[in-house]
């Protein structure tokens, strides 16, 4: 990994923390503890500004009176095509959702492609057509783009970056710091579907299943949720890398609250549970791409849950837990048999390159 740097006679001192990790590990991209260390120890430290500090998955900006949300995401999923989607549809859904999770209606996407020399044009074309279809279905146009090509062996077929811009929904005021004791935690369906669908086609781990990724745009569902309860919706979050457990741990830490989950209420499709058992994965840590966590005031929870269940992407919505005063910055799970355990943030890398 020569980077053209001349040898540093000082011995290569790191201008920012992170000395415990002299090299980037796959786990730094896994959505768990090491990702958080990298973000907080390096990126937040260097780029510190109010917009960056508010939200992890998107920024809110006010420009000329317009209240905007902006989010960026790079997609490096392997393989490029998987049951229920591909890197193209995922790149649209992922960023549409990150913008939506700021309480915003996405209005445009920018797309950046990094292609590897030798990539079959047919493959690129299929990915582009899939992006087109996903963008059309979501009603969010791709307004600008960029393409770079790297030499053979210096990339992996296609990487896609999408950045989304949206306009905040009237009355929306969501942020992870707004979770409050008494709030109810909702989710719009079965966890762990995307991660298991991708793993099902990974080389050496194939098994018989009709499982398809849940990858989908959720901005319409989010608009319905905000219309129903506006300011009573405190947090929206799509539990992607690191799964439900990591997303809720981040929220618990940022809001300095405890979160108590009820295992028996967490929707988990039978085939996903079975696949997780075969593969040795805890479904709470497996990535989702069409799921949305909603943390809402108790008195609006029933109404929001009912609205979600009326939406095609929320039919299996459920209340899965609550925000509590006890054990701040901790997520606990009451198991089916009645015991209670702490659910930590993902440590290490469970599923590399899942999105």
């Amino acid at each position: 990994m020569s980077d053209g740097t001349p040898a540093d006679p000082s011995g290569g001192s790191c201008p920012l923390p992170l000395r415990d990790y002299p090299h980037v590990l796959l786990a730094h991209g896994g959505g768990g503890v090491l990702t958080q260390t990298l973000i907080e120890g390096l990126f937040l430290e260097a780029f510190r500004n109010p917009a960056l500090e508010t939200l992890h998955d998107g920024a809110r900006l006010e420009i000329d009176g317009a209240r905007l949300a902006v989010s960026t995401d790079s997609f490096v999923v392997r393989p490029l095509f998987f049951p229920g989607g591909d890197i193209g549809s995922l790149a649209v859904h992922g960023t549409v959702n990150d913008v939506a999770m700021c309480g915003a209606r996405p209005v445009g996407l920018a797309a950046g492609f990094i292609l590897e020399e030798g990539l079959p044009m047919e493959t690129l074309s299929r990915v582009v057509v899939s992006m087109r279809d996903a963008a059309a279905e979501a009603g969010v146009p791709i307004v600008t783009g960029d393409t770079k090509v790297v030499d053979r062996g210096k990339g992996d077929g296609i990487f896609v970056n999408t950045t989304g811009i949206g306009t905040l929904l009237p009355g929306a005021d969501v942020a992870p710091t707004r979770a409050r004791p008494g709030d109810v935690v909702l989710i719009n369906g079965s966890v762990a579907v995307h991660g298991i669908a991708v793993m099902s086609v990974r080389e050496g781990l194939e098994f018989d299943t009709a499982l398809e990724s849940d990858s989908a745009s959720l901005h319409d569902l989010v608009a319905r949720i905000i219309e129903t309860a506006a300011g009573k919706v405190h947090v929206l979050r799509d539990p992607t890398r690191g799964g439900l457990a990591s997303a809720l741990n981040e929220i618990a830490t940022q809001a300095d609250v405890g979160i108590r989950l009820d295992e028996s209420s967490i929707p988990l499709r039978e085939e996903v549970r079975g696949a997780c058992e075969i593969l040795g994965f805890d479904p709470l840590y497996v990535a989702n791409e069409g799921k949305c966590l909603v943390i809402v005031e108790r008195d609006a929870a029933e109404e929001v849950l009912a609205a979600m269940r009326l939406h095609p992407r929320g039919r299996e919505s459920a209340a899965i837990g609550q925000v509590v005063d006890e054990h701040p910055q901790r997520v606990t799970l009451r198991s089916r048999i009645g015991g209670s355990r702490v659910v930590d943030m993902l440590s290490g890398e469970q599923l590399p390159r899942i999105c």
Copy 2:
């Protein structure tokens, strides 16, 4: 390059044109003819919408009354560090400039990192610090970000995507289609500096020179230009990949006009000319990162040129040609010795991974 695609029994038909190129070539990312083929034959074809069609380097969007410009760019420069900059500063300058070339003041950047497993944290840290400094110097905060990690051997150290959002400057109305016969073509200094600076440190091509990349943020210079002549400024363009020749060919084609250049007026530093001769490059096709082409109405040209020369990043500004009725969609060059030749768009790949 296995992409997980099952064998296609139809024989792999490409749903969109580009059949002449069954695989992606380095030249598809070079900023010349093949890049244009890819953009027009695949991306524009698939994503067709008014915002995408207006400008190549950025989109203009109106959201809630705010008039915005959005541009995205991925950076894959090799090596990561070069005289006068690195991938981090380049990623800030490049996108700040793409937003500025829409006639806008950049207000925020989103940054996406694709890191290769095993990258020295020290290298990442240096790049991040460089981005921080470039963003601070430009006065444009990095408001949101994303980090992915790919396995060793599936990337090349660091790729950076930046997306910029800006607000259109009062009175600005620039677009490549606005170039009109009679307009004057200005540039803010010597061409080919960035490309030659990067090549100077590429393995096997090092030679003695103090040449540094011209990479710099130009939004302040652009603001000065727009203040001086507002609607009389018809086109702004940073001639990056493919150089001056490719940028002017794109404009000539889009506006259906001819452009006539005067070779003796084009600023070209002596050491850059020498390096181009040694390396066999035509400086008109070499990438720039701190240069801006300005196409302006004749009666405002002198005033704009004077304003540019007063700016630290425009001291060597010059009028280098004019827009003409003759030979539409062609760029011609009157040479030092009086002859005239056609200057085509870059064909093939002159300098891979220059930005």
